[in-house]
């Protein structure tokens, strides 16, 4: 039986699945419900001076029928009084002493920071999360992402907090920055116990092309918001990887960004996250998704022989290198399994128009399985990604693996293209049709 318990920077949780700070953690009622159904922890919707929110607040990318592939919000921090939130926090901890309750905070002055930290500690919180990431509404006033984008300010505020904190402090980072490892290092220098990332990405979700305004619409007007949901996972994964690999960070990472199922969670954990937080998927499906998350993680651990979570945290990190360290001699070519092909011919047009013209159609139009032109195939695997049939297009290795060479090595050996017409150009030798031939098709 796999053990899902974690100890994240000193915060104990029965499993790594936490609710991220947002509408699902607005009230003690919701958090109790979630804990009752099996969530391990919850980060309370950011506490501070309560706001007044607008209506409408959300927009979504519904990609060809799949709803909420991407999600946007222009909602701010809690609009409830601190005293109400604190009272509920105490109640939740009374009923669920073994579950992790983390208070997310966003205030301005040193006095406010230190006061609110004491308040949530008195209410029984197990940890604190500093919200330096909200990309709309708060940053205009010098809070949220305005702090997250200024490492020096972030370090200063974190130090204020560390002066009075008696429970673990997590710094939540904004992705709206060129190099997220900078604020992460600042958090570390200030003595923070952990970091969590990502917060939402500054974005405009779409335009109402008939009324000439963006979504969400507030009385004919709109504003930019924060993007989240399954669409942002790749951005989050990369940033988690960057922080987890950085030699000067080395504190636990809580992964956030489009987690919807157990597989997403495992991906974050393999890149170094030792807890994960979920918000959008809960807004979509309710707390019930925890059944799939717990069951899937357990099954993954069982099938891979992991008895505890820490046995696989960061296991993929050693394999994620700099581009210049990748093996240039690794050669793969696409192969189409005719018995599985359904004849959509999408691989052909993708390669023909969008890549390297390495796939051809048959002369006999009744055979709709395209053919790979091996000499032209560069092994980009675009066709394999597009093919709708499982295992119909596979990439087959052609080199024997004995010769490895990287861009870095070649550069050091002086064996890379340096001039514009260099004979070492990688694409030299690949045949490309003459431009006028395009007009004959």
């Amino acid at each position: 039986m796999a053990d899902l318990k974690i100890n994240f920077a000193g915060i104990k949780s029965p499993n790594p699945f936490w609710l991220a700070s947002g509408p699902p953690t607005n009230s003690g009622y919701q958090i109790m419900k979630a804990f009752d159904q099996g969530w391990g922890g919850a980060v309370w919707k950011t506490l501070g001076v309560p706001v007044v929110n607008v209506s409408s607040r959300y927009g979504a990318i519904n990609h060809r029928g799949n709803r909420l592939v991407g999600f946007n919000n222009i909602e701010l921090i809690t609009d409830r009084r601190l005293c109400d939130n604190l009272r509920e926090m105490e109640e939740v901890k009374k009923y669920f002493p073994g579950h992790a309750v983390i208070a997310s905070l966003m205030v301005q002055t040193r006095e406010e920071w230190q006061q609110i930290v004491r308040d949530v500690q008195n209410a029984g919180a197990d940890g604190i999360e500093l919200n330096f990431g909200c990309p709309h509404g708060m940053c205009e006033r010098g809070m949220g992402s305005a702090v997250g984008q200024e490492p020096a300010v972030l370090e200063m505020i974190t130090r204020w907090v560390m002066e009075v904190a008696t429970i673990p402090v997590i710094v939540k980072l904004t992705p709206n920055i060129s190099d997220i490892t900078e604020p992460a290092q600042a958090a570390r220098r200030a003595g923070a116990n952990a970091i969590s990332l990502i917060n939402t990405i500054q974005s405009l979700i779409g335009v109402d092309i008939d009324n000439f305004v963006t979504y969400p619409v507030v009385d004919g007007h709109s504003s930019n918001g924060g993007y989240c949901g399954p669409a942002v996972k790749p951005i989050a994964l990369n940033m988690v990887k960057n922080c987890a690999q950085h030699p000067l960070i080395r504190i636990p990472v809580s992964g956030i960004g489009g987690i919807e199922n157990w597989r997403d969670a495992v991906e974050f954990m393999l890149l170094g996250a030792s807890s994960v937080q979920v918000c959008t998927a809960v807004m979509h499906y309710g707390f019930g998704i925890i059944r799939d998350l717990n069951s899937g993680l357990e099954q993954y651990m069982r099938s891979h022989g992991f008895s505890t979570i820490d046995q696989f945290i960061g296991k993929a990190l050693p394999n994620v290198k700099h581009w210049e360290e990748l093996n240039l001699n690794y050669s793969i070519k696409a192969a189409i399994d005719e018995s599985k092909c359904i004849g959509c011919q999408l691989c052909y047009i993708a390669c023909e128009d969008g890549a390297h013209q390495a796939i051809e159609l048959n002369e006999d139009k009744s055979n709709r399985t395209p053919r790979i032109i091996e000499e032209n195939c560069v092994g980009c695997n675009l066709c394999a990604l597009i093919c709708p049939v499982e295992n119909c297009i596979t990439m087959v290795r052609r080199d024997d693996g004995s010769q490895k060479t990287t861009w870095k090595q070649r550069t050091d050996a002086g064996h890379v293209p340096v001039s514009f017409d260099d004979e070492l150009a990688g694409g030299l030798g690949h045949s490309i049709p003459n431009p006028p031939e395009a007009l004959r098709k």
Binding site: N66, W262, Y285, D292, S295, E390
Partner: protein, 443 residues
């Protein structure tokens, strides 16, 4: 029991009885499971007699947790694979799918269930482990879906369970009665073996419990007894000429197809009497076995037929002709069946009556009676204090499955009068919980 005329060649069963719910391939399972909305308090789960968490297992299939999906199914229904194949999903889970409200094809739940459970059975997954012997033992009479389900439930609490089965195979009607294009014998047996391997109940075949002595022996040797005895042979119609050669009961007819060597029917005209699902099965199967013409004769109107609409559709696709509002009055012929004399009927003031002087004969050479099954009254008579209702169905306490003889519990066809495998599965498991509560309170 009379047998239909047979020819010597053995037709290809695969062709005759192509699976109407074939196994999905990976792409199918992926795209179909992607359609599921993951409803809250899903109507499909509410419609399932065993309350399988359908959105969860579909989601688990979708994100590659096939083992988890099978586990989800088996945690609610021990006969998850059989049910996925034989359940009338069109009127249960699939019929309840929210998509039907907007004319979108409902999720193919039965086949998704098969996709997960077939995999689990073929890869010998172990989802359950029976705890150590708790000191008490229970006898289960009947290794059909109700009995097996009860056995599993009891084994999960550590009871020693002995199942007594009259035939030489388990699965009851799931094997002997359900049409071969829904589930093959192999598949039905594989699931029972999959369960037996994990739960460790014992099955004694060819052990019909019939007389007072058998009953006394069980009562002395076990702390409780579950009756999963099902129904008996096809009911008689009680008309003149019923005993002629080639006039047979549907139950026996279908059982022959499922257990004997498959041989083509040489009958030129078959008349099936009845309007329930068994009549539809018998008609469909006769047609597929090569009968020249198959007529389904029901004494009421088509709208009043008890059979599921899709079973009648299946029969029509096989070429069966339905003739309604005709009631059989006599089987005519020398020694063997040569025809059936019918009288036309009509419903007047809600009551069915024959129209005098409207008799006519439809010639045929095989009659299959599918108007119901008899109850196992002879066995039940030996159990003291066992109450049955006016239709011969065993009376139970709805909250526990206990009969009026406290040592006996019951479920399945013997209690509900003849329903689906899924009902038997649910009732057997429910009675198992009832037995556990009863025996836990006793000591």
């Amino acid at each position: 029991m009379v047998e239909p005329e047979k020819k010597k060649d053995v037709p290809d069963v695969g062709q005759l009885f192509k699976q109407i719910k074939p196994l999905m391939n990976k792409s199918e399972a992926y795209y179909e499971s992607s359609r599921c909305l993951f409803c809250y308090q899903a109507p499909c789960t509410l419609a399932c007699p065993t309350s399988i968490d359908i959105p969860l297992f579909i989601r688990q299939i979708n994100n590659g947790n096939l083992i988890g999906a099978a586990k989800t199914i088996y945690q609610s229904n021990y006969l998850g694979n059989t049910c996925g194949k034989v359940c009338p999903t069109e009127v249960l889970c699939e019929g309840a799918c929210v998509f039907t409200k907007v004319n979108i094809k409902p999720l193919d739940i039965g086949r998704l269930q098969n996709f997960a459970t077939d995999h689990a059975i073929l890869t010998h997954q172990k989802f359950f482990e029976a705890p150590g012997f708790n000191g008490k033992s229970v006898a289960v009479i009947g290794a059909g879906p109700a009995g097996i389900s009860c056995a599993c439930r009891l084994r999960s609490e550590g009871y020693k369970v002995d199942v007594y089965e009259a035939r030489n195979n388990p699965s009851g009607l799931a094997l002997h009665g359900v049409a071969p294009y829904k589930i093959t014998n192999e598949e039905a047996l594989m699931e029972v073996e999959f369960l037996r391997a994990q739960f460790g109940f014992n099955v004694f075949y060819n052990k019909r419990i019939s007389g007072k002595e058998d009953i006394e022996h069980l009562e002395a040797g076990y702390d409780a007894i579950f009756l999963g005895i099902g129904l008996g042979n096809s009911a008689e119609i009680k008309i003149k000429g019923e005993g002629k050669q080639n006039c047979t009961g549907a139950t026996g007819f279908i059982e022959q197809i499922k257990t004997g060597p498959i041989e083509k029917l040489t009958a030129k005209r078959v008349i099936v009497l009845g309007g329930g699902n068994t009549a539809m099965d018998a008609a469909s199967e006769s047609a597929r076995l090569g009968a020249g013409k198959v007529i389904l004769a029901y004494r009421r109107s088509a709208a009043e037929m008890k059979a599921y609409y899709f079973e009648y559709d299946l029969a029509k696709v096989a070429g069966v002709e339905g003739i309604f509002n005709i009631a059989p009055v006599e089987i005519v012929g020398e020694r063997a069946v040569e025809g059936v004399k019918f009288i036309r009927t009509e419903t007047v003031d809600g009551k069915l009556r024959n129209i005098p002087g409207s008799e006519f004969v439809i010639p045929c050479d095989l009659v299959i009676k599918a108007t119901g099954q008899l109850k196992q009254t002879s066995l039940m008579a030996h159990i003291s204090g066992l109450k049955v209702d006016k239709d011969g169905r065993i009376t139970i306490d709805e909250a526990t499955g206990q009969t009026t003889n406290p040592k006996y519990f019951a479920g399945g066809d013997a209690v509900n009068g003849g329903a689906e495998v899924v009902n038997a599965s649910a009732e057997g498991k429910f009675a198992g919980s009832g037995i556990h509560e009863f025996l836990s309170n006793k000591s």
